[in-house]
């Protein structure tokens, strides 16, 4: 018998007392999926919770996004930045206006090369107000996972209509991405650890700076 068969037969023997019903009938669930969380102001909650996680947030009208990009990159003295292929042209120009040298991931940069680059700029898929989270599904305007991981600063632009109240709504919005086989990265603030005497240190391996621009 293969190990697979052994394990399945152990499971069936172990569950001899369980009636032969459909799982949903056997253990019904009193739960409504995808329910929004009633919040007085979804966008403001999103901003506050992102700030609470030590991300920097700029809330601007859509037309002012380029301006915010230039300003934030200047403030952080970013010199080089990798950008995914599908990024907005206006955002690229805004970054260059801030004196940043843009690097395209084409041909794909090696890990070592990415490690030498100061920053990365991406769009995003979903924002979650209740938890201060942004989720990337790594399509063309966000790029492959390594891009938003290796450089030390991540600038992420999110549209107001992408921000939902809570995790259940977000899961529903993300379902098509997963069904299309896209990986997901949920990001809540910069990388952090509390491993030494429980004192919180921002930034271990992921980007130590997370900058979010919320475009209304």
């Amino acid at each position: 018998m293969s190990s697979r068969d052994v394990i399945f037969s152990r499971i069936r023997t172990a569950l001899a007392d369980v009636p032969n019903l459909e799982p949903e009938q056997d253990i019904p669930l009193n739960w409504e999926y995808g329910k929004p969380l009633p919040l007085p102001d979804v966008l403001e909650t999103f901003v506050q919770n992102c700030l609470d996680y030590k991300a920097e947030v700029e809330r601007v009208p859509a037309a002012k996004v380029p301006e915010a990009i230039t300003k934030m990159l200047k403030e952080h003295k970013v010199r080089t930045m990798v950008v995914p292929a599908g990024i907005d042209d206006g955002w690229r120009k805004a970054a260059e206006k801030g004196g940043v040298k843009l690097i395209d991931d084409d041909p794909p940069k090696t890990h070592q090369e990415l490690n030498e680059i100061d920053a990365v700029m991406t769009a995003s898929r979903v924002g979650i107000a209740d938890t201060g989270t942004i989720v990337l599904d790594h399509v063309a305007d966000q790029g492959r996972r390594a891009l938003s991981l290796v450089p030390d600063l991540h600038l992420c632009v999110i549209r107001a209509d992408q921000v939902v109240s809570d995790v259940p709504e977000a899961v529903q919005r993300l379902k098509p991405s997963v069904q299309a086989g896209q990986p997901l990265t949920w990001i809540s603030g910069p990388s952090a650890t509390s491993d030494i005497e429980l004192s919180r240190v921002e930034g271990v391996h992921g980007p130590r700076n997370l900058l979010i621009i919320l475009a209304e």
Binding site: S3, D26, N49, N115, G181, T185, W186, S191, L198, V204
Partner: protein
């Protein structure tokens, strides 16, 4: 802690001798919990650090939980889903296998630790490499994978900061969430100074013991390993059956490094870690971060569904591990222990765990969940496993904290019964029935009871003039009184008082 590395051919720092794994062929050599606990209680530094950690996390958890208006409903949904999974595990595993395979992952099955390690070692060797980077994972500790890889000449580098401290310190984790919490910053600095340079990028000269500086040293030390790694190894918090998606929840970003940069990724997953649908994710992503690190959301969660062209590892393996889980599943009264999502809330709230720490439990799974899970997975044969269900005061705090409502105290009592039955069955002379004969006599009639009460207060009155507590007593009460103070019996019992003041009226 005494291994001399200059003469050792090892690739990674050696852990202390002995085993805390589950399902290893050799019997577990750890002494019973009581002896371990006594030794751990000597370590005041550890106790101080642990008390600080558990108090901070559990208080913060209460805040985070209070923010969720329907917390109890989410808990019930989590518990029900986990029961649904456990009771129909064969169906869900078959579905997970099908969808993982469809998405392009290779699925393997391991009956026990030994087989899991053989599969993992085989995959790593087939890639022609002699090192891997790994994410902190309970199941890889449970099967003691690092040592199996080491024996095959493969170095497994821990990349979580706390696990790095534990590995470089030739040590063992003391908590499942903050494994190096028994070390203070000065000890961490010493470990880094002494060991880091032997295994890669050394720490900076004259490094201070400031946590951000220490974390910075770890970042530099590990960055080199991440960038060159060809194989990564992870556990998984959830495998989603209807989409074939693997999910990892973490804080530092070391997980993302291990999941993204290597060409090959091996995920080792306990068979109970599957969840039915992608929709169900909402329940667990609400329960887990708030219950474990007491955050609204952990910094990073990664999910992947098979391989993606030009993004991340191009070869994925999932190794499903039984290793005693089906033993737990076979006990209808004990199987709900498999609901566990390894959040550690039960540990942070447990008065016993807070005092003795994770090392006393002789298992990778310490605390309330450990004392019900380890004996179910490993059996109740060794001294440590037989003693674990007694490492509880049955105060029930764990059951209140558990996000998936595992009735931990009920299972503790159930396992104690099992152990007592086994003892009876093994024909060892047994104390309890002997004690119960006079106890029966005492409770049989009011007269008998009164007689005993009078005798006790008389004896106490003569023997205990200056103290309120009885100390250790001679056998047969010695095992019980060694660790407990018994309040001295009152000079007058309630029955005596009633008789005197109410004239025996009923």
């Amino acid at each position: 802690m005494t291994i001399n590395l200059s003469i050792s051919p090892r690739r990674t720092p050696a852990p202390p001798p002995g085993t805390i794994g589950i399902g290893q062929p050799e019997p577990v050599a750890s002494p019973a919990f009581r002896e371990n606990a006594k030794r751990q209680l000597q370590n005041t530094q550890m106790r101080k650090n642990l008390r600080h950690a558990t108090t901070t996390i559990r208080n913060k958890r209460l805040l985070r939980v209070a923010e969720v208006p329907n917390w109890e409903e989410v808990r019930s949904a989590g518990a029900a889903l986990k029961d649904r999974i456990g009771r129909h595990l064969d169906k869900y595993l078959a579905q997970a296998e099908e969808n993982l395979t469809k998405a392009g992952a290779h699925v393997h099955w391991a009956r026990d630790a030994e087989e899991a390690n053989r599969i993992i070692t085989g995959i790593v060797k087939s890639k022609g490499v002699d090192e891997v980077v790994k994410i902190k994972s309970m199941v890889t500790q449970e099967i003691e994978m690092n040592e199996a890889l080491e024996a095959a000449g493969i170095a497994a580098w821990e990349t979580d900061l706390a696990e790095l401290i534990v590995q470089l310190g030739h040590d063992r984790p003391s908590h499942i969430l903050v494994p190096a919490i028994h070390r203070n910053r000065e000890e961490v600095r010493e470990i880094f100074n002494k060991e880091m340079g032997q295994y890669g990028t050394p720490p900076p000269d004259k490094m201070s013991n400031d946590p951000p500086i220490l974390a910075g040293a770890a970042r530099r030390h590990l960055r080199e390993k991440f960038l060159r790694a060809k194989v990564g190894i992870s556990g998984s918090n959830m495998v989603i059956c209807d989409t074939g998606t693997v999910c990892i929840v973490e804080s530092e970003g070391n997980g993302r490094m291990c999941l993204t940069l290597p060409e090959t990724l091996i995920s080792v997953v306990g068979v109970e870690k599957v969840i039915p649908t992608f929709d169900d994710l909402e329940v667990f992503m609400k329960l887990l971060p708030r219950s474990s690190t007491a955050e609204r959301m952990n910094p990073y969660t990664s999910m992947w569904t098979g391989t993606t062209d030009g993004d991340g590892p191009q070869e994925l393996h999932v190794v499903f591990v039984d290793n005693g889980r089906t033993n737990a599943l076979a006990d209808p009264e004990g199987r709900s222990a498999l609901r566990c999502i390894r959040c550690s809330a039960c540990m942070n709230i447990c008065p016993i765990f807070e005092r003795v720490g994770g090392h006393a439990y002789g298992s990778v799974y310490p605390g309330p969940i450990g004392i019900i899970l380890t004996p179910q997975m490993r059996g109740i044969n060794s001294a440590i496993d037989k003693s674990l269900p007694y490492a509880s005061t049955l105060c029930c705090a764990c059951a209140d904290a558990c996000p998936v409502k595992i009735p931990i105290p009920d299972i503790i009592v159930h396992l104690r019964n099992k152990i007592a039955d086994k003892k009876k069955h093994d024909m060892h002379p047994h104390l309890e029935p002997t004690v119960m004969v006079p106890v029966n006599w005492m409770f049989n009639s009011a007269k008998h009871f009164e007689f005993v009460q009078k005798a006790v207060s008389f004896a106490a009155g003569t023997a205990l003039k200056n103290t309120d507590y009885l100390g250790p007593m001679p056998w047969p009460a010695s095992p019980w009184t060694r660790a407990r103070d018994i309040p001295a019996p009152p000079a007058e019992s309630f029955r005596q008082w009633w008789k005197k003041n109410r004239g025996g009226r009923r």
